[in-house]
């Protein structure tokens, strides 16, 4: 039982980070139909910007985090505006866009490695004191991460459900032509969506790096497996599905790691992903993409 609870604790942290990342990833798919496999590279680049601001220019951690978030937003916007959009205008098959995304991913990840080198980095903050709830242990840092995730995801919920922009985003995702006929400037909405999802990507990358402890330029490369599993579990293009999928995958991988060899914890995610692709490619509840 204690193994279960302590691994459940780890699972909640993983789930919190994963939920932030997956919601951004799935929103990009929702409005542009692109599986942005360069997402992981944007995450890690943002994390390094935060690291640089925090450790080298000695900015306050929260300000530095803001820098990382801004990096994610700007880079994502630029990638969509200047790479994905022009390619999509040519009506190419989705597989070509995936190759382009992989190309961008290589440039992002290894461009960063060329700059920072192959060594490992670590944020030099202390994880803080240890808190103990119901058999689960959390450091202050971990609690902060979970707190950030809960607050940010609540904000995303508010945005999508109660704001004009959020409704326009969901409308654009559901039926772009009809949204335009209603006067929605969908290009602007798509750009905004990429900025917001990019901000989530930057935030997720930074907290991912903090949570991991040590990281290098290629640390987020495997993360795409978890992201894809969480997204397909909830249905591609479904932000709420993504939250649910992320929690399921996050908890499942960590809890299983408590019982089997932790080195195989991604296997659960992999099995889920392949199973979803084979049997329910539009999610457990979903039929098609909807935001």
């Amino acid at each position: 039982m204690s193994v279960f609870l302590s691994s459940l604790g780890f699972g909640l942290i993983t789930a919190a980070v994963l939920a932030l990342a997956t919601v951004g990833f799935t929103m990009q798919f929702a409005v542009t139909n692109v599986l942005n496999l360069a997402y992981g590279s944007v995450m890690i680049n943002s994390a390094f910007v935060t690291y640089f601001l925090n450790v080298h220019t000695r900015l306050n951690a929260w300000v530095a985090l803001g820098g990382g978030v801004a990096t994610g937003a700007i880079v994502s916007y630029l990638i969509n505006r200047f790479i994905f959009t022009p390619f999509q205008r040519r009506n190419l098959p989705p597989i070509t866009i995936v190759m382009v995304a992989l190309g961008v991913d290589l440039c992002g990840t290894f461009g960063l490695q060329a700059i920072v080198g192959g060594s490992y980095f670590s944020f030099r903050q202390s994880p803080g004191r240890l808190w103990h709830f119901w058999g689960m242990y959390f450091s202050t840092l971990q609690l902060t991460i979970i707190g950030i995730a809960v607050v940010v995801l609540a904000l995303v919920h508010w945005l999508l459900k109660y704001t004009r922009l959020g409704k326009a985003m969901r409308a654009t995702s559901a039926n772009m032509n009809l949204a335009r006929n209603s006067g929605v400037r969908t290009q602007m909405v798509i750009s905004t969506t990429w900025i917001i999802s990019g901000a989530l990507c930057g935030l997720a990358g930074t907290v991912f790096a903090m949570d991991t402890g040590v990281f290098d330029a290629t640390s987020a490369q495997l993360y795409i497996v978890l992201l894809l599993a969480a997204m397909f579990l909830g249905g591609p293009g479904e932000p709420y599905g993504a939250m649910l999928g992320a929690v399921t995958i996050g908890v499942a991988t960590e809890v299983s790691a408590g019982f089997i060899n932790p080195q195989y914890k991604e296997v659960i995610a992999f099995v889920v992903l392949i199973g979803m692709l084979m049997f329910r490619p539009y999610g457990i509840f979903g039929k098609e993409k909807t935001l």
Binding site: R164, K167, A168, R170, A171, A174, N175, N177, L178, A179, R180, N181, S182, G183, V184, R185, T186, T290, L291
Partner: protein
């Protein structure tokens, strides 16, 4: 029923219009005019270019030749979102609502161009017109019945306070009674309140009943046009639907 639902109509006019996809014209040299307070209908067999014509008017399909005007404004090849700002409301034949959004949210998007503080009152006005929607505001549009869905689609476009309504086969896949109600009560009602209504309708006789002017399209061209009373007994009219020869050029 609130009288402020309609907005004074504007003339919608297409002159020598050709339109189609990939530079290939499907509609050839069509001139058509819809005026305030009147229902103008376009009928014709499947594949005669009716939907393409409507789409080219509202900016969804490229115009290859000719012009489209609303009032004094030239809207030829304007983007759909700008056409909407000029008060032209378009209801497509299919994909006419946002299925994952609730009825309320669909109406909100319909009122996207309105000043924020007017949206609530406008929804009230639209609900007066389609009272059946009142009870299902928080239901997802994808879960509505065919008739309810069409009402929502019309409600969504009314939110815009349109001066011109462009409707693509609003009665397709509706039960006959609902279709009749939609045409004779609601759509006729819009015109009577002063709106301009341009309608594509597959049920030709039903279209004649509600229209002030009807164009018959065949092979992408206007084959025949006139007031319904003239068309009804015109042998060419029946023929162009039920055969006996290819549509006349």
């Amino acid at each position: 029923m609130s009288g402020d639902l309609s907005t004074p109509g504007q003339i919608l006019r297409a002159t020598g219009l050709s339109a189609g996809y990939d530079g290939r014209a499907i509609v050839h040299d069509v001139s058509i005019e819809a005026t305030p307070g009147k229902v103008v209908s376009i009928v014709g067999p499947n594949g005669s270019g009716k939907s393409t014509l409507l789409k080219s008017l509202v900016g969804v399909v490229p115009v290859l030749g000719g012009t489209v005007n609303v009032g004094d404004a030239d809207i030829t090849n304007m983007t759909p979102e700008r056409v909407a700002t000029l008060g032209v409301g378009y209801v497509p034949q299919i994909d006419d609502v946002f299925p994952p959004l609730t009825v309320k949210e669909n109406l909100d998007i319909g009122g996207y161009l309105l000043p924020r503080h007017e949206v609530g009152a406008r929804i009230e006005a639209v609900l007066e017109f389609f009272p059946r929607l009142k009870t299902m505001m928080s239901r997802r549009a994808g879960k509505l019945s065919g008739g309810e869905r069409k009402m929502l689609a019309m409600g969504r476009v009314l939110m815009l306070r349109p001066s011109v309504l462009v409707l693509d086969e609003p009665t397709a896949n509706l039960a006959p009674l609902v279709a009749t109600q939609l045409l004779e009560e609601y759509i006729r009602g819009f015109a009577e309140k002063g709106s301009t209504v341009l309608l594509v309708e597959q049920r030709a006789k039903a279209a004649l009943r509600v229209s002030d002017w009807t164009c018959v399209l065949g092979g992408g061209r206007v084959v025949l046009e006139g007031p319904p009373s003239d068309l009804e007994n015109n042998p060419i009219f029946v023929e162009s639907f039920l055969g006996g020869g290819a549509p006349r050029r």
